[in-house]
Structure formats: C-alpha cells, structure tokens
Amino acid sequence: MEAKQHATFVELFLKLDRRIIYTLVVLAVAVPLLIPIGLPINVTPEVQSIYDKIESLPEGSNILLAADFDPASQPELYPMLMAVMEHIVRKKHKLLIVVLWINGPNLVAQAIDELRKEYPDWKSGEDYAFLGFQVGGTIVIMSMGNDISKTFPKDHYGNATSPMPIIRNFNKLKDTDYMVMLEAGNSGDWWIVYGTEKFNIPVGAGVTAVIAPQYYPYLQAGQINGIIGGLRGAAEYEKLIGKPGKATSAMDSQSAVHALIFFAIILANIFAMILVVQKRRKAREAK
C-alpha cells in the first residue's frame, strides 16, 4: 500500500502542471525584487579587462560604440549600454555611437537623454556624436574605414556630421583607440572581420547571454579583449563604475530562478530514475 502511494507521488511530480512551474518562476523573480537579498557580485576577468582598457586610455581618446540591438534584448543590453557610456563620459573620452540594427536607435537616444540629465556639459558634436542607424551591415563598416562622415552624412538628430568638431580627429575607423560593441546577433562577427581586425582596433564585446559562448573563441584568440556577458556582465560593470542599476537589482532574482531550475532538473531526474526502478520491479514481480 505504501509503495503504491509513493509511486503515485512520483508520477504526480513528473506530470506536474507546467503552469505551477511558471508560477514558481514568477515568484522567484518577483520576491527578490521586492525583498533584495544582496548576494555578492564578483567581477570576472573578462569584464574587468574592458573596464581597465577604458580606464587606461588617456583623456580624450576616441571610442567607437556599436549598439547593435533592439527592444527584444533591452533588459540585458540597455543596462550595459548605460554603464559603459557613463564610464566613457566620466573619463572624458570622445565617443561615436553607431547602430546597425534598424530598431535600435531610439534606445540609444533614450540612454543619451538619461545621461545628459546627469552630465549636462556632455555636448553632442563635441564630446560625442550619435550617428544613428545606417543600412548595409558589412558595407557600412567597410565604408567607415574610408570616411565616417560620408558614411553617416547626418547624425540621428538630422545634423550634418562633417562640420562636427569630434569628426575632425575621428573620421576613419583607424582613428579609433578602442571599440565596444554591444551585440544581440551576428553583427559582432561583421565588426571583427570587416573592421577591428582589418584596422587593428582593440575591441571589447558586450553581448546577450544567448550568444556569449560564441564570443569566447574570439577572446581566446585575442581578437577581443573582454566580454560583458548578459545581465550578469552588466551587473559586474555597474559594480565597477560604482553605480548599481537595474542589472544589479536583478541579480538576486536571476540567482533565485537559476537555483529553482537547478533543483527542478535534479528532482525531475531523481524521480524519473525512481520511476524506472519501480517499473522494472513491477515487471519482475509480474513475472
């Protein structure tokens, strides 16, 4: 009788309604957001090296930022964009921002608006230029190698780029002292193949977690100097610049969900094994 009840419990667990699991996941996300645990965030060497590179450049260095993502990747890459841009602004580097994804420019414009509230002296055309989106992908990158102002005759706001003071010393890809690419797809490969390798530009990659494994070979080969991977990477960068943001506040939830999924996988496997053993035992008893 006892064995029968046990078997029923195992079967019940393995046939658990998926909506119960979804509810548990939502609770694992929502509760830590309301009641933060404050789990420690350790900075990985991949993120540290991007921070160190920006930190080590002399004031006024030319940094190119490619923000190749759209709202679908906003939760991961927007906090990264904010943290990296704020670091660049604080170090008073010159910044050019370009977008190869058509639905991306307004996110960058929003980030710039947010930053300008905090840094009102940060001037468009002088300290930075947001060149917006340009169609063409690899052609755009190759064209930037010849002349950035011809590739982007106008910035995102409709202003001509050629008279901008920032463009005077930053009009070709080879003028770039460092590049950060924030990528949600394969445009990072384009930048490496058609841009940074060709013009020998040091580059760091901030990527969504889904594509992060694809970028480790580049890191291993020295083709990029660091990786900021997913929301976790963004939280690490926020820690480095000393300004906890949305990514940091999400880390407790991330850990809670990971723990939930981890235990769900372990339990499901244990119960599945128990079920197999029970079925074999029943088959033996039947014989």
Binding site: E76, F133, T138, I192, A209, Q220, A221, Q223, A250, I261
Partner: protein, 263 residues
C-alpha cells in the same frame, strides 16, 4: 502623416515651432503614461500564452510584427529611398534644393535601383527569374569581398590561436594549468573536426575519436543552454521589473497615493 513620422522617428532638432510643440505633446508625461499602460497591457497579452494560446496573445503578436514592419519601412523610406534614390534622380524634390546642402543630380543610382526592382519581379508570375540577376550580383560581390577577409581575419586567427596557445615550456603550476587547458582545447577541436569528417567511415580508431568529439559538442551545447536560460530569465526579469515598478509602482500606486494626498 509624413510630418508626424518625421517628428517622431527622426527626432530632428531643426523642427518648426508647431512641430516642436507637437513633439513635446507626443513625448510628454501624458504620452509616457499612455505608453506605459499600453506596454503593460501588451505584456500581459503575451504572458497569457503561458496559460494557453488565445486571441489576446495573437493580437499582441501580430501587432508587434505589424508595427516592426511599419516602423522599419518608414525609416527606410525617409532615411534611404528618398535621400539616396529619389533626390539624386530628381534634385528639385529635395527641400534643400538650391542650397549648398542640396542633393546633386546623380544618374548612377539608377543601377542599384533597377537591380532592387528586379527582386520585386519575384512577385510577378513567370518573371521571377529576373531576380536571379540581382542575387547573382549580390552573391558574387558578397563572396568576392567577404571571402578573403573571412579567411584572413576569422579563420586564420582562430586556427593559429588553437595551435599557438599551447605553452610547451612549463615552469610552474600556472603554466601547467595553461598547458592542460590548451591541450584540452586542441584535442577538443581535433575530435570535433573528425566527427564532422564524413569521407571516412566512423569505425575503430576514427569512430572512437569522433565519439569523443560528440562529448565535446555536448559540453558546448550544455554551456550554450545554460547561457540561454540566463538570457531568457533576464528578459523575464526585465518585464517583471517593468510591470512591478514602472506600471504598478509608479502609474497605479504612485498616482493613487498622489490622489489621496492631494499631490
């Protein structure tokens, strides 16, 4: 409609006063509030799929696809087709015609325009073959430009990093760990390549070697799966943060509190 699209999408700073006023209204606090409510409603529509497929989910899905296509088309039209095709062919249509910034006549743009039009011939029954001319040009040109760069900037650096990274001179524990790591990487690359080499039957020594390659591939898939879970959870966290803080926190609880306290 044209002006509205320009005001909203171009974000131009050189707007007429009435356009500026319209932009202020469209991007002001009232529109932000409306935007948050629409975004919250659509988020809930999408989440309703968790329970089961339903018309609200489909409404949200189709709306997203439609808006993305419409938004992209508008950007292409105003940012590329007009200034890079129509104005160079008919410069008098350019609002800046006659000024130093006006577009100059450039008949050469007709060539890419014709090639582009060829692709649309796929929509005409029996004339679809015309599009092959454009595709031949694209594939030929793309391969010609891309292949040397891919080999020199992607394939060779990756290959040399796999081989050169092996530190053969070991003087301490760090070098020993690095050597082990490099050997695993080298061995893994080799076994996976053997797994994808189908000209030899996978039996005996080759079979064993390719089986090891499968284990390396499985480890790599496991890492990708782990990262994918992390990414999807991040997206969920982003949406729940929005629902909890931007929508419920600011728009519902915040405004209710302001109402009670007479703020």
């Amino acid at each position: 409609m044209n002006h509205l699209a320009l005001i909203l999408l171009q974000g131009a700073d050189n707007l007429a006063p009435w356009q500026q006023a319209m932009r202020d209204v469209l991007t002001g606090p009232l529109m932000v509030t409306i935007g948050i409510w629409i975004a919250a409603g659509l988020t809930l529509c999408m989440f309703s799929f968790i329970y089961k497929d339903n018309p609200l989910f489909r409404f949200g899905e189709y709306l997203y696809l439609g808006i993305s296509a419409g938004y992209g088309s508008t950007i292409y039209w105003y940012s590329y087709i007009k200034p890079k095709l129509i104005y160079p062919l008919i410069p008098t249509l350019d609002p800046k015609y006659g000024t130093p910034e006006g577009t100059l006549f450039n008949p050469w743009v007709i060539i890419p325009a014709i090639l582009g039009a060829f692709i649309l011939m796929r929509l005409v029954p029996g004339k679809g073959w015309v599009s092959r001319i454009t595709f031949a040009f694209l594939i030929g040109g793309g391969t010609g430009i891309g292949l040397p760069l891919v080999v020199s900037n992607l394939f060779l650096p990756q290959f040399s990093a796999t081989v050169q990274a092996i530190p053969w001179r070991v003087t301490g524990i760090d070098e020993a760990v690095l050597l082990l790591n490099s050997l695993v990487l080298f061995f893994g690359a080799l076994t996976v390549l053997v797994y994808f080499f189908f000209s030899v039957e996978h039996r005996g020594f080759v079979g064993g070697f390719s089986r090891v390659g499968i284990y390396f591939l499985m480890i790599s898939f496991g890492a990708s799966f782990g990262y994918t879970i992390m990414a999807r959870v991040s997206l969920l966290i982003g949406r729940i943060q929005f629902l909890m803080f931007d929508w419920i926190g600011k728009e519902i609880v915040g405004r209710f509190a302001m109402l009670i306290h007479g703020g």
